[in-house]
Symmetry: C2
Amino acid sequence: MQTLFLTVFILYFALLDILDCGLHVCPCFVCVSTGLMWIYNSLDSYVFLQYLAWVIYPVLLICFSAGFVQFLAPPAAGSGIPEMKAILRGVVMKEYLSLKTFVAKIIGLTTALGSGMPLGKEGPFVHLGGLCGAVLMRFMSLFGEIYENDSRYIEMLAVACAVGVGSCFAAPIGGVLFSIEITSQLFSVRSYWRGIFAATIGAFIFRVLAVWNTDAETVTALLRTSFRLDFPFGLQELPAFGALGIACGFGGALFVYLNGLIVRFIKKQKANNGFLMKKHLLYPALVTLLISTLTFPPGFGQFMAGKLNMMETMEALLDNRTWAKQGIAEEAEHMGHSEAWIIPQVNVFVTLGLFTFMKFWMSALATTMPVPYGSFMPVFVIGAGFGRLVGEGMATWFPDGIHTNGTSYPIVPGGYAAVGAAALSGAVSHSVSTAVIVFEMTGQITHILPIIIAVILANIVAQSLSPSLYDSLIRIKKLPYLPELGWGHHEKHDKHVEDMMERDVRYITLNCSYRDLYNVLLKGHDNTVALVESAESMILLGSIELAQLQALLSLQLGRPLRLENIRERAVEDKKCPLVVSNSSENSSHRASQEVRFQISEDSSLSPTRPVPQKPLKPALKRPSVVEQPTGPHDHSGIAFKNPYGTIPDLEDNVDVEDDMSIREITELEEKQLDEKVNFNNCKIKDVTIQLVERMSLHKTHTIFSVLGLDHAYVTSIGRLVGVVSIKELHKAIEGSVKVEGAKVRPALASFRDKGKISSKNETIDVHKLRDRLRSMQLPREHTPSE
Amino acid sequence: MQTLFLTVFILYFALLDILDCGLHVCPCFVCVSTGLMWIYNSLDSYVFLQYLAWVIYPVLLICFSAGFVQFLAPPAAGSGIPEMKAILRGVVMKEYLSLKTFVAKIIGLTTALGSGMPLGKEGPFVHLGGLCGAVLMRFMSLFGEIYENDSRYIEMLAVACAVGVGSCFAAPIGGVLFSIEITSQLFSVRSYWRGIFAATIGAFIFRVLAVWNTDAETVTALLRTSFRLDFPFGLQELPAFGALGIACGFGGALFVYLNGLIVRFIKKQKANNGFLMKKHLLYPALVTLLISTLTFPPGFGQFMAGKLNMMETMEALLDNRTWAKQGIAEEAEHMGHSEAWIIPQVNVFVTLGLFTFMKFWMSALATTMPVPYGSFMPVFVIGAGFGRLVGEGMATWFPDGIHTNGTSYPIVPGGYAAVGAAALSGAVSHSVSTAVIVFEMTGQITHILPIIIAVILANIVAQSLSPSLYDSLIRIKKLPYLPELGWGHHEKHDKHVEDMMERDVRYITLNCSYRDLYNVLLKGHDNTVALVESAESMILLGSIELAQLQALLSLQLGRPLRLENIRERAVEDKKCPLVVSNSSENSSHRASQEVRFQISEDSSLSPTRPVPQKPLKPALKRPSVVEQPTGPHDHSGIAFKNPYGTIPDLEDNVDVEDDMSIREITELEEKQLDEKVNFNNCKIKDVTIQLVERMSLHKTHTIFSVLGLDHAYVTSIGRLVGVVSIKELHKAIEGSVKVEGAKVRPALASFRDKGKISSKNETIDVHKLRDRLRSMQLPREHTPSE
């Protein structure tokens, strides 16, 4: 068994690595990314043609990417990290882990990256890792049940995310830590272990392939730097590093704000005029056109190193040498990519400043396009640019460097670039592991102290100003999430469950009538209802899903409903038989499309009696709608067999009871509603977690985040006294401030249980029931007279 | 509030850092560690005197350390990591976090480290970090209740441990990761964050102090290496690195086994003949004598670099140059500490091999002495030695180095030393973060791939062979722990709660009689009893602590007891009235000292009737004993007011019932035992976590480890069906194999709730009750005749 388990992992790594390395070195990707430069260079003398090529090439690629993703699997668009975070929280979003999404993501990502827009690949890699994991788990579940275990699944996904990031940066440790920080609030050392293992193999294969391709002599860092080992930086420089970190903190918060602003604006535009909605390729095309026009090397791009791609830019920014001597660029020869910044007429500070500023808004804009993208790398580059700017400034300010023990060491602006990159990306993602990523990417750990200090300062500033980029997107996308108890939530520790719980709990008792059930269904909008022993004792026994209650109710009322509809049909039939039969065919057709397993029964009836189809449909459909969600559960099959089991004798009785009056039916229903509920066939969920009134918010938060709960009942000596859901936790943690887009819609909570229909449908159904009863109001008022 | 919180942290860091740095650079420590070398060098010409100095100096220091620790606070001896692990699991062991222990640990550690024995300091630093945290929390609790919050306390300790390790190695990231890996199974990203923050400040101050002391030019790594950046290692060397990792895995397992063997042997010897127990300084003195004799530089020590201390050894082993050329040592000049290994007559391989072998068993032996010690650093050095041995072997085997692209790069044995150090320490501690520690200590990350691969391989081998060193000590010390679900526990995922739960649960019902209570108290040895609604419904309402039940029982039986005692007193009074009145005054005085709020009632009664005081005492005292433990709880004050409320009318009845016979009293007791229990004043604990029969072992394990449970009830639709405790989890995870020392004694579980009396006392009380009832057996047999 253990060998099998290991095999799974190895198989998995192999899959993932081949994929990852494929992305890096596969000819297709290389073609795409170098194609532009080739075309551009071959059109050297025709500036206008050059411009056309420079602009049209990325526009086409981005449009293809957006179109392809839109066509094949819309969930593949975007970063994927917010969704993975929600999935790891326990929310089931199958469409994000399907094979289609996988294909769309790979192809979309390759083309989007090839376009040269400021887009990264760490988000999609996290998503791809998760996709690989999900696909592999589905494959492995053929071999044994254990792989279907829910918590194993989540664990696998967590490891997969780690592998994704690790392979992306060839940074196994930093990647694992980063993925943990951005996707989890709590994680097991076990997963960390596996993540390191998997990511190491990933990074190993990735780098070894590079050696085999003779891109590199041996396995070294991706962006190898060669800073001084003996005296990397002076203690006097630490204030500058700290200031850089604080500035990056503000910058990170600004980036998140700007990105959120654009995303919200686009969302609003789409919702309002529908123009962008219909022409969904127009927006990415416009954005790409704007960005590529501005980066056109012979034009404005020359002032911001527009012709370099992201990796070349990073290499240049981490360069060991100083570009500015007394503010004037020197030795622009033989400096490789660094030449791009050193233009004779313009100050280095101007080009670096322009680069930072332009890339800042461009990246914030580009990462709103509906293509697969990552925002880490662009932010990383911006940070490096800003750091370099500060570093060059320091080098100009202290041209003699740092004097110690008689030796003077010049200032290394490349070190500032590394610090800036780590700090800005840390601020945007609210993580400190970016420091480790920088060490692993550069292959040098000499600047550990300034980098960590800057990252921590940046994080403190950014975390107190705004949510992380991923949390911001989660809020905008209204995914369910649990806010973190981070810095600044200190006063919340005084809160206890009793201060925040909702005391008005929906419950049913063991000996309740169907009418109570009905009333409960009408009342609230939660997904589950508490089951208590009796209204007096209030002892909590378990919880029942709404769908189950609906099934119980429709099972009880189904027969009269149907009879009533038959009656209606008989009345309508006399008025306009042709129209009705048409619509009945349509609807039966629709029904057969929507509800598969029902077709057999339907079709067997339709040839003999085509007319009863329509009235039968709503009655049959209700339980079927209920059945759909509970299908994946084990016990539901038994629980819901009865309604269909009774169909045949119902059909026999149609003639007998067909002449019942509406009032009679209603009376019968009323009587049936007063019967006691039989819970024998109902699946009662056991309540595993109960909160206590005196439990602190802190502990409640821990329990919710570890076990991925969305609600928990509060009991006192077995008595149900309240309920706490994520909503209440939100309120307790965030207060009532600034949660416009942050409130969790209960509708989304329904994602939790696989395959369940949204509660929207349920409410509609209940409303139908209510409306029907209301229409019966008149006859009902007569019933007491009997 | 937030500022206060931050202040706490900063205060805390300051405290800890000053302490840590103090240890590193304080004159005392420097004196101690350099004193030996100074004496040794000044006695250059007298070998025998040199030997005496070499041997007596460490023996004295170790004896002082052992004696001091033994005298002041025995818990300060040893590593402290096993205890911190247990404390972080939720076990309350106050004596390990007291100020006394703190002082004993610091002084004991300083002297022990100064002795030059192969002892490290990371374990004590973890413990010291925890101690600092605990002291600080106690200090901060003066400012607000929030700091008394239990989960915050644990969080603080987790951060503190991280800081301890981080400061010890000047490796903030690696230290935090390492401390997480060795102390937790699950941890929050929040703690990780704080840990990095705190450890960075720690490492920062530590290194900055070094700069100010002009030990170093600027802040760089502790053991700076200067391996090649451009071609650190060839891909062809990877198999050698892998083999080194596997060998280190076996070595690590062997080390843990050897260490455990010695500890068990010493424990057994102590228990058997008591000789070592009484002369507790003899054992450390003997061990120190043996080790220092063997390392005497002019003697056997010259073949194993005996004169170098641990840091010098590490510096030498990580040396950039190759010591062996074709197996023969060359250029022994100007090589600093490396010269120690290069002896003209002897092969380098022999000295390195001897060094590795001797240090191996010496370290395993030294880390069993009753002084504060760490085992990480010695293991680290042994690993480096072994790695160097392999590296020199490789350099000899391939004298031309690695050829690539026309250039040939010689093999760097120092790199092998780094790999070996990380792999062996990783294998012993079952952690992969040792890799990060190595990067941070050496200041180079060039060998990331071989180091991680070797560490992972070493971990796989070691984890499948033996527990980690800390887990091994936890087992030997019989601390409560939860085995990890690591590699090789895969088949356990099929297990569910129903397979392992104990179905025979002790419970009482809401309408039970005192006799049932009594029987329950006699039966089991758990700490709590389940409270169910009725024996038929078995609906779980909560749990009650044994102490509470005892209080209930003694409250019910107290009155007859008292009457019985009055009777006794009356009999004795006639014999010696003077003595009795004396003792009664004494005891009433004692009672008033012990039970404060009772005094008012007592004293108001005592002037009028001084004689009844003594018989009152035992009856009054029993509830007071029960009250003591429950004192810290909120409700207990209310819970136990009744007994004192009834005192006055009891006093009135004394004369009336004074002439009851023993048989009558017993009959009355029997009657009272049959009464229904009144739970109104009893504190019923709410059951927050209930397991479900179909819950997987995996999830159960997660819940237990996150919430620090020691038992949880299993329910099915509110009905109590079983209970799972750590014992059952142990069985399920480890099977029935090799758990001699590993079983959790339930007595230790009582540590969990602060201030609770140990269950030993409880059982004694119950036994008293039983004995008393037994002595009443004869009259009882007559009762049915009535």
